[in-house]
């Protein structure tokens, strides 16, 4: 029990620290939402509007930082994330609501795909090490070593522009109304393929490598040799004895990755004009949109913590040794 209380306290303190950091960081940036907006408009908004914008955003009442901080927590406890500046007066919560599912959906699926594929490939090449299959590794490494945006842009050029296989941007065909009908869903899937593939290809090497190395390490454990000595089928030894144990460290990495899914892959969303939260956060940053930044950070932080909590649980479930303590 104490174990869980300790973990609980740990998570709460982490969350508090992260939220606080998230509050102060944006405010330490130079500039303010109004000037950012004017700059961004590049002449569309006249500086004459500065005053009206200040009034609009409620930045004219001269609250001290501490007052803002306390009222921020107050708002948080009431589930109110405030109004976004960049999309004024849209509430932060609806900006997040609108963008989060896309990111979670696409990046989530891509990550899961990447993990499953990578782990499987890693299992195989780790098990049959020294065979030609090892050649997968340098190829995968190459794709993880190129910057994602570079890779993504070339992928767009090749697969969307040169050969018109996939759409170049957006989450679905503009004009479709989100609904649970085939037309919409197929459009979403169709638009998701290229971004998802690029994510998978560029992130898979880590999973392959991690699993392969663990497989190699675990393969030389005595219990694997014992399993072989028992005359078990090769598949069973590989899956149930070697991979089953080797996969444990992947879980924690996966949890971390899951957490970061929510952060979105900003670069992917930029490159593919994908309607996710990563790009929203980026816009919030460039617009000095504190409320939105805080909201995004909060969601990301919580997601990472929850993912880690889940990882703790799953890990305890998969590795009986850790259950001992709790």
């Amino acid at each position: 029990m104490r174990f869980f209380i300790r973990r609980g306290i740990f998570y709460i303190v982490t969350a508090w620290a992260a939220v606080t950091l998230n509050f102060f960081l944006p405010r330490m940036m130079p500039g303010d939402p109004v000037s950012s907006l004017i700059i961004k408009s590049g002449g569309q908004i006249s500086p004459d509007a500065i005053n009206s914008l200040k009034v609009l955003f409620g930045l004219d009442n001269g609250q001290s930082l501490w007052e803002q901080y306390t009222s921020y927590w107050n708002q948080l406890f009431h589930g109110d994330l405030g109004l976004s500046f960049a999309f004024f007066p849209t509430p932060v919560s609806s900006v997040i609501q609108q963008s989060l599912p896309w990111t979670v959906g696409l990046v989530g699926i891509a990550t899961i795909l990447s993990v499953i594929l990578g782990t499987t490939v890693g299992t195989l090449i780790g098990w049959r090490r020294g065979t030609k299959a090892d050649a997968v590794l340098p190829v995968a490494t190459f794709f993880s070593a190129v910057p994602y945006f570079w890779f993504g842009l070339i992928a767009i050029l090749l697969f969307a522009v040169t050969w018109d296989f996939f759409p170049a941007s957006k989450g679905y065909q503009p004009g479709l109304i989100p609904a649970w009908n085939w037309e919409f869903i197929s459009s979403v899937l169709w638009h998701g393929i290229l971004p998802a593939l690029t994510i998978v290809v560029s992130s898979i090497s880590g999973w392959i490598l991690g699993m392969r190395n663990m497989m190699v390490t675990v393969s030389s454990e005595d219990y694997v040799t014992v399993a072989q000595a028992k005359g078990l089928k090769e598949r069973r030894v590989m899956v149930s004895y070697a991979a089953r144990n080797a996969v444990l460290p992947q879980i924690s990495s996966f949890a971390l990755a899951l957490g970061f899914i929510v952060g979105g892959t900003l670069v992917m969303e930029m490159v593919f004009s994908y309607p996710g939260i990563g790009f929203v956060l980026y816009q919030a940053v460039t617009a000095s949109d504190y409320p939105l930044m805080q909201g995004c950070f909060l969601v990301i932080t919580l997601a990472i913590l929850v993912a880690n909590m889940m990882a703790d649980v799953v890990y305890a479930f998969l590795d009986p040794r850790t259950r001992q303590e709790g």
């Binding site: 029990m1 104490r2 174990f3 303590e325 709790g326």
Partner: protein, 357 residues
């Protein structure tokens, strides 16, 4: 900071063979538990009295987990005791504070079980020994340092010195490494050597070499040695006195020869019976089974009661003290040797052993 401990050198000069250098009284160590069982503790060592005298070897035997290493660590002040007292040359020590700890470590040195682990793989022998010399003998340099190193290696019979001094641990055999570990301890010119299973990780054929080396140290330098082992035969071979530990307590103590030949405590007997012995006629009776009691909540009464063929209700309800056993300075923690009316009959212990001889 305790300042009453006299400088080590002078103390060493005064004391001669036979003097008690290190004495522990009621030494107790409870490791607090974490997690669910918080509030409870592992009673690793419970009320151990022990004396180390110059020029003699005391063996501490017992099964795995009985608290032997914990005693060694307590005596070297690597961990802090829960209660009890440790007196070095009759001065209580607790090693809090760096200087006090160093002073203690100068006189009480420890040798670890695993010579493969106790030498840092990335340092040469020269580095390891130089550090020890510098810590304990002042900042020697040049020829003086060289001479000190040479002398150390010569003492542990690693000669010619040049062949070993610049080697890394992995380039040496286990026996050689253990000698280096001993040399490191000797650099402090200690009065007490705590040898925690110094040979159990070594090849059979080189074990004796180390034991014989320790013997020389005892005889030539009058070092007091605590020899920890689970091999009771080697205790007989090497130690003057033997103490048998079971579940955190001393259950029997006395001269090694007496203990091995006429064990008084049923556990000692079990230990001796269990040791492989090609000379002994084939034993037919099955030995006692069962495992040591939990150290977290030790059962009331004698800790060995659950496995003891002689145990009666008394044993299961009241904790025995160390009672004197007939013989020269012997004692056993067994109700059988008390003068209680309802004491168990342990005559079978000595009898059965005598028969086998």
């Amino acid at each position: 900071m305790p300042t009453d401990t006299p400088p080590a050198g002078s103390a060493a000069a005064v004391e001669t063979a036979g003097d008690v250098v290190l004495r522990a009284q009621g030494l107790t160590k409870h490791f607090p538990l974490r997690g669910l069982a918080r509030g409870k503790a592992v009673h690793a060592v419970d009320g151990v009295d022990l004396e180390l005298t110059r020029g003699s070897v005391v063996a501490l035997v017992g099964e795995s987990g009985s608290g032997k290493s914990t005693i060694a660590k307590l005596l070297s002040l690597l961990i802090h005791r829960t209660s009890g007292d440790i007196r070095l040359s009759d001065k209580s020590v607790d090693g809090r504070g760096r200087r006090a700890f160093r002073r203690h470590s100068k006189r009480v040195q420890m040798i670890f079980q695993d010579p493969f682990g106790s030498l840092n793989p990335i340092h040469t022998i020269r580095y390891t020994l130089t550090r020890s010399v510098r810590i304990h003998k002042g900042n020697l340099r040049g020829d003086k340092l060289e001479a000190a190193l040479e002398e150390l290696l010569a003492r542990v019979q690693l000669t010619p010195v040049d062949r070993y001094i610049d080697k890394f641990p992995h380039e040496l055999s286990g026996g050689q490494r253990q000698r280096v570990a001993i040399a490191r301890a000797l650099a402090a010119d200690p009065d007490v050597l705590l040898a925690d299973e110094p040979i159990s990780m070594l090849d059979v054929s080189i074990r004796l070499g180390i034991l014989n080396l320790l013997k020389t140290l005892r005889d030539d330098m009058h070092v007091a040695i605590l020899y920890i082992t689970h091999d009771i035969a080697s205790a007989r071979y090497f130690a003057d006195r033997t103490m048998v530990m079971y579940a955190g307590q001393i259950v029997e103590q006395g001269p090694s020869e007496d203990i091995t030949q006429t064990p008084a405590h049923p556990y000692t007997r079990l230990l001796i019976d269990s040791a492989p012995d090609p000379d002994a006629p084939a034993r037919t009776e099955r030995s006692t089974s069962g495992e040591a009691p939990s150290l977290v909540s030790p059962p009331p009464g004698c800790r060995f009661a659950a496995r003891c063929p002689f145990a009666n209700d008394l044993c299961r309800s009241e904790t025995p003290d160390l009672f004197n056993v007939p013989g020269d300075d012997r004692a056993a923690r067994c109700w059988g040797y008390s003068d209680r009316d309802n004491k168990p009959d342990v005559s079978g212990v000595a009898k059965s052993v005598k028969e086998t001889i």
